[in-house]
């Protein structure tokens, strides 16, 4: 699971949960994998990103210093900033671990890099 995906996921599917975001990451296995840098894609994603949640996620993975506190102005033209963002969004992968609902503490497993967001029948 890349942090781009994590930044989009909520646990609002659980009955009674309305602000299941961001999910806390407890990772037991993280991998850094080089991914081709496509600046236009990264720039397109930035407005969709919840920035504090992304920084928190990076911190959860033990990579807290990579991102500035806020999205910089004219980020489209700032290659250094785009590269840093690209690295955090695309190159850090949670292979094994758990995503934890901030409201209920319900744990969603991440196994083999794939998050499993299915609920049990008594939770829906």
């Amino acid at each position: 699971m890349k942090l781009l995906t994590h930044n989009m996921l909520t646990s609002n599917i659980i009955k009674g949960v309305s602000k299941g975001f961001p999910l806390k990451i407890v990772a037991s296995k993280v991998e850094e994998k080089e991914v081709d840098f496509v600046p236009e894609f990264t720039a397109r994603m930035i407005p969709k990103i919840d920035w504090p949640a992304l920084r928190q996620a990076a911190a959860d993975l033990g990579k807290p210093d990579n991102l500035p506190e806020n999205v910089v102005e004219k980020y489209e033209e700032n290659e250094e900033f785009l590269k840093k963002t690209h690295h955090v969004l695309m190159e850090l992968e949670v292979l094994e671990g758990e995503l934890i609902c901030p409201e209920t503490g319900r744990k969603f497993p991440v196994s083999n890099g794939i998050p499993n967001m299915l609920l049990r029948e008594d939770e829906v």
Binding site: L9, R44, I114
Partner: protein
């Protein structure tokens, strides 16, 4: 034979005449233009002359469909051309010609059974190559991991185009199988995410995954994630227009059955049938929330179906009484 009209506006138009009365072509065109008060510059002669007299290098190329022709035959075809008419004034250049003229012989469409003589012979100028080769490049026969409903490579590309998949955008397939649609989308430069149609992704070996299929084509960088989720729970995502296109081949129960998780009184039946009308409704709900402005939802349907619960059940009963849905 054709005549070009141009200059009056910035466009050049190619006019193709179907009739054979060559002497009347230009006068007829001029008359019609006059009738509709269209201002246009019509050349005095048809394009043929311009081509022949342009003095630029050229070559002939013989291509055949449904039959292989040997070198001698091809040469013969070129020699048999009416060289009095095709009296190109430019030099022949076989390596780097400025113009290529193709003689295309069509030996019918019965594969392996060419007609005795060509059904049609075309003479045409080469303008540009198409992208048909891509179908071979992405052919399912060469793909490592395929499922029983993998989408044909050509059709996947058509769906990518219909879904206006663009380079550098994020694409989602909420019912992915082996990822054929995503391979096409990634080949166009898009980044792909998906939710598997079936939850058993973990049972597959490492090299049998959507990711491995993308890797096979050197497209792994365009893989974002696969996540196991219930497609009927659209609020799993943060409210935000995330996806530029959603392209999918949903399980209508015809080729691949659909299941979803539902609350059960008895705690036995964890999964219930996922009706077609519900699939549509969930897809539309999902698209309405998460597609970017002017984004596209593109879905493949196997048959003409009515999104009507009664009709759908009847349809299913008719065809799938014995199935394991």
């Amino acid at each position: 034979m054709a005549a070009s009209i141009g200059k009056s506006c910035t466009r050049t138009i190619l006019v193709h005449f179907a009739h054979e009365h060559t002497d009347f072509r230009i006068p007829e065109l001029q008359s019609i233009l006059g009738l509709f008060h269209i201002e246009a510059t019509v050349p005095k002669e048809c394009l043929k002359e311009a081509h022949i007299k342009c003095k630029e290098s050229f070559k002939y190329q013989v291509t055949s469909f449904n039959k292989k022709l040997n070198k001698e035959r091809k040469l013969q075809i070129i020699e048999d051309l009416p060289h009095e008419t095709l009296a190109f004034e430019g030099p022949v250049d076989l390596k780097n010609p400025q113009h290529e003229y193709h003689i295309i012989e069509d030996y019918g469409s019965l594969l392996g059974q060419p007609t005795e003589a060509p059904q049609q012979v075309y003479f045409a100028k080469w303008i540009a190559d198409g992208q048909r080769e891509k179908i071979n490049e992405f052919h399912l026969q060469k793909r490592h991991f395929i499922a029983n409903t993998s989408m044909d490579a050509g059709l996947s590309m058509v769906m990518s185009n219909l879904g206006q998949v663009q380079s550098g955008t994020l694409i989602f397939d909420p019912f992915v199988g082996s990822g054929s649609l995503l391979v096409s989308a990634a080949a166009q430069g898009a980044f792909v995410m998906a939710r598997p149609s079936r939850a058993n992704v973990k049972q597959r070996s490492d090299d049998e995954s959507v990711r491995a299929n993308l890797r096979q084509y050197g497209l792994e960088s365009h893989y974002i994630d696969i996540l196991v989720a219930d497609s009927s729970r659209v609020n799993m995502w943060r409210e935000q227009p995330l996806f530029h296109s959603i392209i999918t081949d949903p399980p209508y129960g015809i080729r691949e059955g659909a299941k979803r998780i539902e609350k059960s009184e008895k705690h036995i039946a964890q999964r219930t049938e996922y009706h077609l009308s519900d699939i549509f409704m969930d897809l539309l709900n999902f698209a309405a929330r998460y597609l970017t402005l002017n984004g596209r939802l593109e879905g493949m349907s196997d048959a003409e179906l009515h999104v009507d619960h009664f009709q759908e059940s009847t349809f299913r009963d008719m065809y799938f009484k014995e199935s394991n849905l």
